[in-house]
């Protein structure tokens, strides 16, 4: 049924070294999502702590601060998922582990 999935994970990490190899090894969509959301979280958190909260626009709450915290938590969950259940190359059914 899924014989194709064996050839679908090319051994690209073997043929690359240095920074590119490291990046390819980390190139799991969960890490990518986690990294982007965490970076956004940090920036918004800093804006919330040190920037103008612009309460005349938001109507009261410090929106940057709250959004930053939530983004950091969700980003951390994705990174933790990627670390705790890494993709095993050449696994027969990479899709069955969710």
């Amino acid at each position: 049924m899924s014989t194709e999935s064996n050839k679908a994970e090319p051994n690209e990490a073997d043929s690359n070294s240095g920074l590119l190899g490291t990046l390819l090894a980390l190139f799991d969509i969960r890490n990518v999502i986690g990294a982007l959301l965490s970076i956004y979280g940090v920036i918004l958190l800093l804006m919330g702590l040190f920037g103008d909260p612009e309460v005349e626009k938001t109507g009261g709450p410090n929106a940057n601060l709250w959004a930053g915290i939530v983004l950091l938590v969700i980003g951390a969950i994705f990174i933790a998922w990627g670390v705790l259940k890494p993709v095993v190359p050449d696994a027969p059914h990479p899709g069955d582990k969710e």
Binding site: M1, S2, E4, S5, K7, A8, E9, P10, E12, N16, L20, L23, L24, F27, I29, V32, I33, A35, L36, L37, I39, Y40, I43, L44, M47, G48, G51, D52, P53, E54, K57, T58, G59, G60, P61, A63, N64, W66, A67, L71, I74, H93, P94, G95, D96, K97, E98
Partner: protein
């Protein structure tokens, strides 16, 4: 208030932090394209992503590929204008069809190992139907790419204050470079990422909007007040605050006809035609790692899809009462010429941008703009790449220039991408003439998709249906839809003569219904007088000719219920019925 470098006279006042957030998003997008292109080894990798992705990834990509201009701007615009009945595009017009695709149709697509939806058409019906399908699909993609480009350009215009035509050309060049970087895997990864960025952009906007309007009760009372103040021009408050019967949406005066129009026209014909035969969508499921994951792709996608209205339609409704310009525009029945819109004067398509301007502090504003840019860019990229796949492989390789080496078609695909982008700039100009993008899109879907669904479903379950019936049904169905469009009142702008008293979405539903009925009738009559295909050639393509074990995943039996397609679809169906009852 901040006074940004460029922000003096633009609609949106973005500062350096906002631009930083947008720049980070672009860096991620280009990084994904670069890394995905390094890990690519064959053309299967390029077109079907090696059939290697887990179901949650393809499931999110499945809805994300559609979470472009149509959903975000179109749905918030319709929400601002008509209110809650807009949810029918999700709960009636998408979820049931997605579940049907996963449960019934996906085994045929995945099991027959075709590379594209038109290729399935070719194997089932031969050359005529294949040509009609491939050409009409390619044309539709160009038109929709133009709409995405127009909205992308209007955001750049709002952000930087460039003239719209300059913004259009620059946005087109950005998308062009984005497409040429990676194959389907890069596209799918970007779509999954985009999904999270869009939710991160729209959810805070919605929550802040609700907070400022005084919760759902506050929104309801403000809508009632606005409607009572201008009863002649604004849809009734009851009509805006309840999803059924949705007469404001269909334009029908009768409640019963309106419900029939929504259930049959939108729910059955339009949405099944779109979701089950659109190659842009089906391609995502084909990239899954097993037949079970392929079936689960649209079913998993159905769960977030149900909740997308809360971050698109709801902020649109809030914008129509909170944003002064938009409230005035709505009170005038959409006639007032108020300066300050993204593309010129204010209209419903500006709902989200204006709400962002009014509510979001710098920081969140940048995140919100990144989300919008992401959505329209990915939407246009999906249209253009689907276009070049179909043009290069389904049309040119199949019929015009055969048997050249692989590199020839890759080069050809690049030129198809360039010309598609150029044409999209012109369709973008066309799209800017319609005040509400949804009308325009529904009209197009009605023309191209409604007859397709009729032909597919008849062809999958009736082995007697012949090759001639395949293309004859498609052509007559499309013509029937165009005819209804021309006869109706304003559906096709200046082309409509107004003989039928139908306008707006109602006309689209009727056009789709006409296309479906005409297609079925013509297909049946033509099949009965032409020669059927030989029995053996239909295995894997027609239900009665395919062994049952080819249509299911043998390993599914041992899995828990939540990992199997059919029970999962049942849960989704129950949830969507509950949502319909509540609202």
């Amino acid at each position: 208030m901040h006074t940004g470098i460029l922000a003096a006279d633009t609609l949106i006042q973005a500062n350096a932090v906002d631009y930083l957030l947008i720049a980070i998003y672009f860096a991620f997008v280009l990084g994904i394209g670069f890394l995905a292109s390094r890990g690519m080894s064959s053309s299967v990798d390029f077109f079907l992503s090696g059939r290697s992705l887990p179901a949650w990834v393809t499931g999110l990509a499945f809805i994300s590929a559609n979470l472009g201009a149509v959903e975000i701007m179109g749905m918030s615009a319709t929400g601002a204008q008509l209110g809650l009945p807009t949810v029918h595009y999700f709960w009636i017009g998408a979820v049931p069809a997605m579940l049907f695709l996963g449960v019934v149709m996906m085994p045929f697509y995945y099991g027959s190992k075709v590379r594209s939806v038109p290729e399935f058409m070719k194997r089932r019906f031969g050359t005529g139907a294949h040509l009609v399908n491939a050409i009409s699909f390619a044309v539709a993609q160009l038109l929709i790419a133009g709409i995405n480009l127009y909205l992308l350009g209007s955001i750049v215009h709002a952000l930087l204050g460039w003239p719209l035509w300059v913004a259009l050309i620059v946005a087109a060049l950005i998308v062009l470079s984005y497409i040429t970087l990676g194959g389907l895997k890069a596209a799918i990864y970007n779509e999954v990422l985009q999904f999270f960025v869009i939710v991160a952009a729209l959810l805070p906007l919605t929550i802040l909007g609700l907070y400022n309007v005084g919760g759902w009760d506050g929104l309801a009372s403000k809508i009632e007040a606005a409607s009572a103040a201008n009863p002649d021009t604004v849809a009734s408050a009851a009509g805006q605050l309840n999803s059924w019967p949705g007469t404001a949406l269909t334009g029908f005066s009768s409640d019963i006809l309106s419900v029939v129009g929504i259930v049959f026209g939108l729910g059955f014909v339009l949405s099944f035609g779109y979701w089950t035969t659109n190659f842009v969508e089906v391609q995502r499921a084909m990239a899954a790692d097993s037949i079970s994951a392929a079936r689960k792709t649209p079913i998993i996608g159905a769960f977030p899809k149900m909740f997308v209205p809360f971050i698109t339609i709801l902020p649109g409704m809030i914008a129509a009462v909170l944003v002064t310009e938009l409230a005035d525009f709505k009170a005038s029945g959409g006639e007032a010429q108020i300066a300050g819109g993204a593309g010129g004067n204010v209209n419903y398509n500006d709902s989200l941008l204006l709400l962002m301007r009014d509510l979001l502090p710098n920081g969140l504003l940048g995140l919100a703009l990144a989300g919008l840019l992401a959505a329209f860019m990915a939407g246009m990229a999906a249209n253009v790449s689907a276009f070049n796949t179909v043009v290069s492989f389904d049309l040119i390789q199949e019929y015009i220039i055969k048997d050249r080496p692989d590199e020839f078609y890759v080069r050809l695909g690049r030129w198809a991408t360039v010309s598609a982008t150029a044409i999209a700039i012109f369709t973008a100009a066309l799209a800017s003439n319609f005040s509400n993008i949804m009308d325009y899109l529904q009209t197009l879907f009605g023309f191209f998709n409604a007859p397709l669904f009729a032909t597919f479903i008849l062809g999958m379950f009736w082995k007697r249906m012949t090759a001639t019936a395949g293309w004859a049904g498609l052509v007559s169905g499309t013509l029937a839809a165009v005819l209804v469009g021309v006869l109706s009142d304003g559906t096709l702008g200046g082309l409509s003569v107004g003989v039928l008293p139908l306008s707006g979405q109602g006309a689209s539903f009727v056009a789709a219904g006409a296309a479906f009925v005409v297609d079925i009738i013509v297909s049946v009559i033509v099949s009965l007088v032409t020669k059927p295909k030989p029995e053996g050639s239909l295995k894997g393509l027609v239900y009665s000719e395919t062994p049952k074990e080819d249509l299911v995943d043998a390993e599914d039996a041992g899995r828990p219920w939540y990992a199997r397609p059919v029970p999962l679809a049942g849960v989704a169906l129950v949830m969507v019925i509950i949502l319909n009852v509540i609202f």
